[in-house]
């Protein structure tokens, strides 16, 4: 990790602890924000959080490894979580899964080399009446077909990275 990057992480964690309070009960909110911003909770981050909260880093590690949405390994900018529970399964999640793997060139549990997409299974995401369903970060997509997979991925690519289409309407509105 670059020193500047480490410095940024350190400062961010300091700010988060200040916002949520230096208590044990703030641990998960702090970790959730670190995960969202950095796509992972690195060893360095765990040590830093532990120092701020006055607990052993192993305590932080045990929490990070328990929850499906927190993790040590880097997750892409867009984490795609396809529901695999029975209702989505019966609605045809397998075809969607194959299409996602084909279009991204990775299998479930992997991240694309450009660091943009991670593919994960999810257990029931509460969209059983509109399956197959998937989450892209915090956004939900329902009744997904293998055709729709391409549109969803394009939507992600257009919102971030070299193919991003810059939306300057906000700036125009401000000007």
């Amino acid at each position: 990790m670059l020193l500047t990057e480490q410095q940024r992480l350190k400062e961010d964690i300091g700010r988060l602890v200040e916002r949520y309070g230096a208590e044990r009960s703030s641990l998960i909110p702090v970790l959730q924000d670190v995960q969202a911003e950095y796509g992972q909770i690195s060893e360095y981050a765990m040590q830093e959080v532990a120092d701020h909260l006055g607990i052993h880093p192993v305590e932080v590690y045990s929490v990070v490894t328990f929850y499906a949405f927190l993790g040590e390994t880097y997750q892409g900018k867009f984490v795609i979580r396809l529901c695999r529970t029975i209702s989505c399964d019966m609605a045809g999640k397998e075809k969607v899964a194959r299409q996602l793997e084909n279009d991204l060139g990775i299998t479930f549990g992997q991240t694309t080399k450009d660091g943009k997409f991670s593919l994960e299974w999810a257990n029931c995401i509460g969209m059983c009446d509109q399956g197959p369903a998937l989450l892209v970060n915090d956004h939900v997509f329902t009744s997904v077909t293998s055709e729709k997979v391409h549109d969803i991925l394009q939507l992600c690519r257009k919102s971030f990275g070299p193919l991003a289409v810059h939306d300057n309407r906000h700036e125009e509105a401000r000007a």
């Binding site: 044990r24 998960i28 045990s62 929490v63 328990f66 509460g126 969209m127 915090d138």
Partner: protein, 396 residues
């Protein structure tokens, strides 16, 4: 009440502010008396009488007390809490506020599952509006009672729907269930008396104060009062959230949702029971087939072993690993299902697996392990012929 319709029929007609106004005019004992009189039972699935829970928490001594709304709706096939939070969140907030007044708590926490993060923004803005309107804050409705609500997010662990695991998670720990007793009403969040209720339970509380305990108790059956939301999915023409009085027959529900030709229905999600077509005259109620609201319909073409396998894979992944019956038992049952799939399971071994399932029901620490064999056991008992003697996996 026009119950036989899709959607939040009752709940959308309730005025949350009227409910809160009716409650703040009462004493704490009167509020709890009203909830008890309604015979409301917990809507998350366990069916514990809400009035009893609140009474215990009100009587418990503590420096601070807490009201927790369990919005960690992770049970497969359940999505009614999502719909309540998206469409009538104020009912839930009003119900929580009433709970706070009843037990003497000034702080409420909504534990929202991480998968529902997209709901957070609108919930926060609904809370902000309530603060601005004086419905939350240091003086609720200008009375000398304070109450406010905070939203905390889950991080993708099904077991955190178990109330003590949820509290552990709120305290910044791994979501591992605690031994009970002590129960949260006595030793809950931060060791203080805490009530943990389901989203729909709080919405019911608001309904009770808006329309009266007698009205609520007149709906449903003697032991299962009130309307109930059902999340219907699977092989039916019209999946979605339905509201019916408790005590509805499975066959009636299937007619409403267009799933008459089902061969089985899974009631109560992965941890619930599989009801075969021969038993569709059974009723959805606490005294018969109990459910937190999940109804999954399986059409004639479905392979029940594949269903059992999907559920068991779910539990192998979601078991917190703390106690042995659940951690090892679920893995062993999944292995057995794979043997059945390959046609290599003897009747004697299937018996062993059934016994293992019963041991797990008895010996697991929390509701997850106690209920995870349910689906497997009920599928084995009703569809044994379909499960045994498979040939496709045999190498001859």
């Amino acid at each position: 009440m026009s119950a036989n319709r899709k959607g939040l029929v009752t709940f959308s007609t309730i005025d949350p502010n009227a409910a809160l106004a009716a409650a703040v005019a009462k004493t704490r004992a009167e509020i709890i008396g009203e909830v008890t009189a309604s015979k409301l039972k917990g809507r998350g699935g366990a069916g514990f009488p809400t009035g009893v829970k609140w009474n215990l928490a009100a009587a418990a001594k503590g420096d601070a007390k807490y009201v927790i709304c369990n919005a960690d709706e992770g049970e497969p096939g359940t999505f009614k809490d999502r719909v309540i939070l998206a469409e009538v969140p104020d009912l839930v907030f009003a119900g929580m506020t009433i709970g706070g007044i009843a037990i003497g708590a000034v702080k409420g926490i909504i534990y929202l599952r991480g998968e529902y993060t997209y709901l957070r923004e609108q919930l926060e803005s609904a809370l902000a509006k309530r603060r601005a309107a004086g419905l939350l804050g240091p003086q609720v409705m200008d009375k000398a009672v304070a109450f406010d609500i905070e939203i905390r997010m889950g991080s993708g662990a099904y077991v955190c729907g178990e109330e003590t695991a949820l509290i552990e998670s709120l305290e910044g720990q791994r979501g591992e269930p605690r031994n009970r007793p002590p129960f949260p009403v006595d030793t809950g969040f931060m060791g203080q008396p805490t009530i943990v209720n389901n989203v729909e339970t709080f919405a019911c509380v608001a309904a009770i104060f808006a329309k009266g305990a007698a009205w609520f108790a007149s709906i449903g059956t003697e032991k299962s009062t009130g309307p109930k939301l059902f999340s219907v999915s699977g092989d039916c023409a019209r999946p979605g959230v339905y509201e019916f009085p408790l005590g509805i027959m499975v066959s009636e529900l299937l007619r409403e949702v267009g799933g008459e030709n089902a061969k089985a229905v899974q009631i109560g999600g992965a941890s619930g029971h599989c009801v075969p077509s021969s038993e569709f005259t059974r009723t959805l109620s606490y005294e018969d087939v109990s459910t937190g609201g999940s109804v999954m319909v399986f059409g004639p073409q479905r392979d029940m072993l594949a269903v059992a396998k999907n559920f068991m894979e779910f539990f192998v992944e979601e078991s917190c690993g703390q106690c042995t019956p659940c951690r090892e038992g679920n893995a062993k049952l999944l292995e057995g299902i794979e043997m059945l799939e390959e046609g290599r399971c003897s009747a004697a071994y299937l018996d062993e697996l059934t016994k293992l399932g019963e041991v797990m029901q008895l010996a697991s620490k929390c509701g997850l392990g106690q209920s995870s064999p349910n689906a497997f056991l009920s599928i084995v008992s009703h569809f044994q012929d379909e499960l045994m003697g498979r040939t496709h996996g045999l190498v001859r």
